[in-house]
Amino acid sequence: MKTKLLLALLVGSLAATAHAQVKVEDAIKWRQSAYATMGWSMGRIKANIDGTYNKDEVIKSANVIQAIANSGMGALYVPGSDKGKGWVDTRVKPELFTDGPKVGKIATEFNQAANELAKVAATGDAAAVKAAFGKLGASCKSCHDDYRTKQ
């Protein structure tokens, strides 16, 4: 019992340290991985909209996006991570770190769009999924347009 408690404490404190000190490189890697995974899911949903519609596959993909969107990714934009390399060089613009309310508005719209997509995906209504997918894509774009450097 004592060992278990100790172990729990140890794990807890390790997790706390990890949380307190997210390395810039890790933060950027996690960001990039999260966006890449959402990209995979968006591509899957589009393939289902354009081709044969498979309800299960769309549900899985929409749930992935919803989960990531609601994971609190804002925490990965740690100070100093406006520049640096994760898997590749980050393309975030420094304005993302200074435009607080505007970024928050885009992020909120994104979350709502992701939630909506997951909701309609569950119904299997392809037309509604297409509309929600378009809205979600537009919210992706609004952030890309404003807070991502062109290459």
Binding site: G39, I45, A131, G134, G137, A138, K141, H144, K150, Q151
Partner: protein, 231 residues
């Protein structure tokens, strides 16, 4: 008043012009709005490939005032125009600069757009040919050079307003009706059915090439024996 009516812009040139105007507006709007409209952006872009190739061929084999050699803006012509010594019809030497400028910027937009991606779920039809890195680069150019396009279109409209109000010369009417009242000059010649068919064939071939339909199909799904794992 000793004026006569000449055919200035042949019907294919006029159709090209108004279809292109419509398409450019549609492209800028769909490109800026995004969302599901990005699919239309891709389709209209393909149509514009056809329009531009048509116009380039028509600039070689079309009727008089549509031909590039007729209005190619050489330095001599430009300086003559600026001194007020130009007496031609159709695109004046400065307007010709704008024509070639628009054609060039649109060509850049088409070439980059065909291989672009939006990092969401859309890729241009020839994306597979260049891969991710080059595609990202092309996408960056695509988004920058659209500003040049918008500037040229505004300049184009401003010049038309200037001609209408200051020089009392309505440039829009001939582009709609084809003919223009002029003191002297000849009607456009050439650009017959054979030329038209040639230009259309080139345009269709270009659209097919740009559509990527000829690209090898993605590998077929694995045979049913190899089941997608349940996880």
């Amino acid at each position: 008043m000793n004026s006569k009516r000449i055919l200035l812009w042949d019907l294919p040139t006029r159709l090209f012009h108004w279809l292109l105007a419509l398409a450019v507006v549609a492209l800028v709007v769909t490109g800026k709005v995004g969302g599901n409209l990005i699919d239309w952006h891709g389709k209209v872009g393909l149509a514009v490939v056809g329009l531009i190739v048509f116009r380039v061929v028509w600039g070689l084999v079309g009727s008089t005032y549509a031909r590039f050699c007729q209005f190619f803006p050489t330095p001599a012509r430009i300086s003559a125009y600026l001194k007020g010594e130009w007496r031609g019809h159709g695109h004046n030497p400065l307007g010709a600069l704008s024509v070639f400028g628009l054609l060039a910027v649109l060509t850049v937009q088409l070439l980059t757009g065909l291989v672009a991606n939006d990092d969401i779920a859309f890729v241009g039809p020839l994306y597979e040919l260049v891969g991710r890195d080059l595609s990202n680069l092309a996408t960056g150019w695509h988004k920058l050079s659209v500003n040049m396009l918008i500037v040229l279109v505004i300049l184009h409209l401003a010049a038309i307003m200037f001609y209408a109000h200051v020089k009392k010369d309505n440039l829009v009417k001939p582009m709609v009706r084809g003919w223009k009242e002029v003191p002297s000059g000849e009607s456009a010649q050439g650009g017959g059915m054979l030329s038209l068919v040639l230009a259309i064939v080139f345009a269709l071939v270009a659209v097919y090439a740009a559509s990527g339909r000829w690209l090898p199909e993605p590998p077929p799904p694995p045979p049913a024996a190899v089941q997608t794992p349940a996880w």
